[in-house]
Structure formats: C-alpha cells, structure tokens
Amino acid sequence: MNPVYVEGIGLCGPGLDGWAASQPVLIGMKDYVPAPTRVQPASLLPPNERRRAIQTVKLALAVGAEALAAARLDLTESATVFASSGGDGETIHQIMSVLASSDRELSPTRFHNSVHNTPAGYWGIATAARTPSTSLGCYDGSFAAGLIEAAVQATVEVRPVMLIAYDVPYPAPLGDLRPISAAFAVALVLSPKPTAATLACLKPCLHSATDVVSRVVPSSLEALRCGTPAARSLPLLAALACEGDSFVVIDYLDNMTLALDVTPRLRALPPNGGRQERSSA
C-alpha cells in the first residue's frame, strides 16, 4: 500500500479527552487515569437532532470534528470511512426487547438508528458533506479494516479521507456475549500527499498473524486496547504522539495483522517539502 499522511487526529475515550490532552498520557509523560468517557454534546447537529442523538453518533461526531479542525479542512471536503464492530448496542437492545414482547410496534427513529451507518448519516446531516462515505465492520479488527479502506481510498481516489472508528459497550444481555469495555472513538484524517498540517507519514502493510501485535503501557491502557475494538488503535496513537520513527502491528483478522511504519512530520517530509517552515529539530 502507498503511504498516507496523517493530517489531523480526534480522540475520545475513558480518561482520554481529546488528542492534545491525551498525548502526554500516550507517551508515558503523564499517568493514565481511567475515567468514564466524556462525550461532548453533538454541537454540529441541529438542536432537535442533538437532543435525541444516540451515543455512537455523539462519539463519532466529536472525534470527527476534532480531527478535521486539526487538519484545517472544511467539514465538507473529506470523504469518510466509519468503522465499528457493531451498531448502537442500546438501540439494538431496545428493538430486540420490543420485538420479543406482545406489542411489537417499533419507533421509526429507533429503527433508522439501528443501521450500522447511522453515525455516517448524521455526520452528513451535521456537516452537509456530500462526499462518499463507507461504513464497515470487522469484529475486533474493525479499526484495521477501516484504516485499510481509508488509506486505499485516499491514495486511489487522490483525496482526503477521514477514518472514524468507534465502539460503545452493549447493555445486558447482549453485553454478556459481546463485552466491550468502554466507549471509545478515534478519527484520523488521511491525505495522499503531505500538506502544511501533516503530523506523520504512515506506511501500511498486511502481515501474517504470526507477527506480535504491539501493546501499550500502562497496563490499564493495555486493558482498554484489548477490551474495545476501536481502542486497538492505541499503539498507533502512541506512535503518533512520540517524536521518533515507530513500527507498530495492530490486530486485524485471525490470520492477518496490519503493520504500520510511522514517521513523524519532520522526517516524513522531504527537504523543503513541507510548505510550513519549522526550525529543524
């Protein structure tokens, strides 16, 4: 796969309130303090939609807006790829409960919120972006699958593509069968060529599953990585937060991992290739 350039990052997880605040935690400069995920209100949505927005929508919109602002892109410029292990757990649980009862009438809003691409639909409504949008699922490998789709789309279609990966815990009884430890979302704006906003270069490559998957420290962050499919992104985020070159391997399929060479901005750009002058490190 051709390299892609990370132009902006959004992050929302338990004790991880945005990309800027989370970087010191990810590189071990600051202790990780687990706390319930704080999701910002979906201020991009019109007030009537904001009130009834479900958790997956709020999460996706929050990280998407953060990443695009960092990338200095207009909200309508980027194509989008949404990746999650499943739909909104609470919505599915409510629908299943109603259908198992004697009165099986569903709410139309709940029904349209049950589709896998609900956050993508609301992202469009919120931003007026008419660009292509894909929503996909790949169980525990959903983040890697989304990153592959987004990176390939960026290089083949030669346009910026934002990946938004998110997962939320399922309520019982579904949660007993599909434990997801926390609400977590990450957004990466990927560009086929470097720009003034470029943070790093990623070179993705499919590897066999015999490669050892990268872990994160401390152990409480590692537990989050293992417990939430979208948090499989944490080793990549830690690599993006540090200043040196990194090689990370993330979970994808039972027989396949996604390996990434991560080169921070100053090394990712050729001499004088960056349009914004910075003092040399």
Binding site: S85, H112, G137, C138, Y139, I148, P173, M256
Partner: protein
C-alpha cells in the same frame, strides 16, 4: 518517500469472472433469467413470523429447512444459510477455487455487504431469554450470526479464502458500494481478486421497522406507478468474483466499468428532495467509467415504489440522462432486498446484457405522468452493452455502478 503519490494502475475495468444470485425468483442465473424474461413476479402475501399487517414479500422458500451443519454450525442463521445456498449455485465455488489456485488464498479479498446480518437469530434469542436472569440462550452465537462481520467471516470460511476482508454496511447501498471498495483494493495491490456481493434476509426488525415508517405497501409494490404506495420487502443474496480482465475472459464477460458514491447529507430515512445525492453518484459513476450519458443503454433504478423516493430519483436521472435512456426498477420481481439489492440488480443487469433483453417492471400499471424519465413497463428483446444500476440507502448513502459487456 519524496514522490508522495506513486502512480497507481487504473481501477477500471474489472471482469466478473463469475457471478451467482438467489432471490425469490429462483436459485441461480438460469432460473433468474427465465423469470426476468417472462416478467414473472415472486411477491406473495406475507406470512413471515406472523407479521400482522397486510403486505407482500419476496420470501425465499426452503431456508428454514437448510440449517448449517458440521464446522459451519456456529454460523447458522437465515442470512448465512442463504449465503451458503447462493455460493453453491452457478459453480461459483469452483470458479473461486480456480482463482485461489492462481493467486493464492491470501491474495483474494472478501468485501461483502449486508444490512440485516443474522439479526433474526437475536430476535429469536430474545424470545428465549432465561426468565430470572434475562440471559440469552447458550446456543446463541452472537459473533458468528448477528455481528456485522459474520457474513464476510462465513464467506471466507466457505470459500477457503485468507485475504483481506470486511463487511460494508451502508443499509440499502451496501452491496453496490462493495464494488467500489474491491476496485480500489485491487488497484492498490492489496489483493489480486475479490469476492463481492452479500446477503440480506427477512426479519421482524425490518418488517416492523419499515411498517413504522409508513412506507410498506399493502399490495405488491408498483415502482413509478401513479398509484404507487410503498415497498415490498424481499430477501436475496448474490456474489461476484472480480478480477482484472485478461485473455481468459470471453466475449460475453460482464465488466465493472465505473462507480460513483455520494452522501445525501439531508435526512436519515428520506432522500434529498431534489435528488442531489443521487445525481452526484450518477455523475461520478459516468466520470469514473469515462463515458457520456448517451453511452448508457439501460438504467436499473433503485425505484422502491415510495412516493418521494421514486420522484427524487426520477429528478436525478432526468437531470443527467434526459428522457432518452430506457430505465426501470426491477423491485416488482422479488421485492426490495435492502442490503442485497445492489448485487442483485447488478446480476439482473448482467443477465439482461448477456441474454439480450430489457427486463420489465411487474405490477407497474400506469407510469406516473409527473415522472419525466423514459420508464419501461414491459420488457422486450434488445441488445444492450452498457448499463447503470442505482442503490440508495438510509443515512443518505448513494452508489451508482456502471456495467458493460465485452464485445
């Protein structure tokens, strides 16, 4: 790394090395062609899951009696049963085996779409919850049935493939968008070939859900009819093996020539009133194929027979093609098969090109005079070489694909 964008091979065209389809019209290509030519609809009064409201559905017979066994037993649900039956039709498994021999299992991707996945299994499990604890029954296998990824995992297993895989789930546009995904993956050298398509099956969630939206017809759906009053649900599966065309592909090979994707950015369950998203997808598809609108011989519409859906699509189609290009919706044959409709209609178009006919529009009696496109009600024999197929879904997901036949 100084050359930021390395040159990539063109995404188009790609060849349908093989394809297969199962709807309520019948199993496999031959049965489907007969029904399409005859204009025979398979829609019947709904008895599924004791659904209490009058409606018609395209239900596939025999799925209840076809459980998955042995190593595949954990995948057993209506959606995967239909996928299994479909993969076994039309020698599809054998064609994939040839490709596997040629490229290796790890170089064949699986990009399939579904909206329902095995949701019916979870509906049944919730009716069997343990009364005191509320637990779901121990035989319910969530990851391999209900989870969005289930179908791709199942297809990979059945076809013995080991390449990159995921499920695209963009409601009723899912199995059109997988063509775009596969084309990009092959262009980026992530894989050499791909199995695309998908499956969607009847379940209470979609029956009661569309009923709650007030868009379900009490009679068989009548796309573009002046008295159209909503959709008839159906279930279906279809799969296509996509590869770069080469000398092995004969004169009647179906080609993927282009794709176009867009978002409505308007409403979760209603299309943009001026058909703006649909028009963007259509124009992008033609641009990607490098052809002008007048090169298209037939447009297979999304045409679900809702009042607003048909009129907004008509506006988009008329804006791009004018009133010259024959078009219609084939939803009257086997219903709206939701997430499967993209690949089903790609298969219908492929069969129409190969067998020299234009399918009709069963149940459409008088075309709405307010709609301006050239709507074809009765099918007829004709040589067609290039077609467009539209798929639009909840959340404003739009995808148009351009198909052609090698001459």
């Amino acid at each position: 790394m100084s050359s930021a964008v390395q040159s990539l091979p063109a995404t188009m065209p790609l060849a349908f090395s093989d394809f297969t389809v199962v709807t309520s019209l019948g199993r496999g290509r031959d049965n489907t062609v007969v029904a399409l030519r005859e204009g025979r609809s398979a829609l019947a009064s709904c008895t599924f899951d004791n659904f209490p409201f009058p409606t018609y559905v395209g239900e596939i017979a025999g799925l209840d009696a076809a459980p998955l066994r042995g190593e595949l037993a954990g995948f057993d649900c209506r959606n995967n049963r239909l996928a299994a039956i479909t993969l076994r039709e039309d020698n599809f498994v054998e064609s994939v085996a040839v490709a596997r021999q040629r490229y290796g299992a790890a170089r064949i991707g699986v990009f399939v779409g579904t909206s329902t996945s095995g949701l019916l299994q979870t509906e049944a499990a919730y009716r069997r919850r343990e009364p005191i604890t509320g637990r779901l029954p121990p035989d319910f296998d969530y990851p391999r049935t209900h989870n969005t990824y289930s179908l791709a995992r199942f297809v990979r297993e059945v076809l013995d493939l080991a390449g990159p895989a995921f499920v695209v789930s963009t409601a009723c546009a899912a199995t059109a968008k997988v063509f775009a995904t596969a084309a990009r993956m092959i262009a980026a050298d992530v894989c050499d070939a791909a199995v695309v398509g998908g499956a969607d099956t009847l379940c209470a969630t979609t029956l009661y859900g569309f009923h709650s939206l007030g868009v379900m017809s009490e009679e068989p759906c009548r796309p573009y009819d002046s008295e159209r009053c909503g959709i008839s649900l159906g279930e279906a599966a279809g799969f296509v093996l996509l590869e770069r065309p080469d000398h092995r592909h004969g004169a009647d090979t179906i080609l993927l020539l282009g794709y176009g994707e867009s978002s409505d950015a308007y409403h979760m369950s209603s299309p943009h009133p001026e058909g703006l998203g649909a028009r963007i997808a259509l124009e992008a598809a033609l641009a990607s194929a490098g052809i002008k609108p007048d090169a298209i011989d037939y447009i297979n519409l999304h045409g679900t027979a809702t009042s607003v859906g048909d009129s907004t699509e008509d506006r988009a189609v008329f804006d791009v093609f004018g009133a010259a290009t024959p078009c219609n919706s084939t939803k009257g044959f086997a219903g709206h098969t939701l997430g499967a409709s993209g690949v089903v209609e790609a298969a219908f178009c492929a069969l129409a090109m190969r067998n020299g006919f234009l399918p009709g529009s069963p149940h459409t009696r008088s075309v709405d005079p307010r709609l301006k496109s050239r709507y074809v009600r009765e099918g007829y024999p004709v040589h067609i070489e290039r077609v467009v197929s539209n798929s639009f879904g909840f959340g404003g997901a739009n995808c148009s694909i351009v198909l052609g036949i090698a001459t």
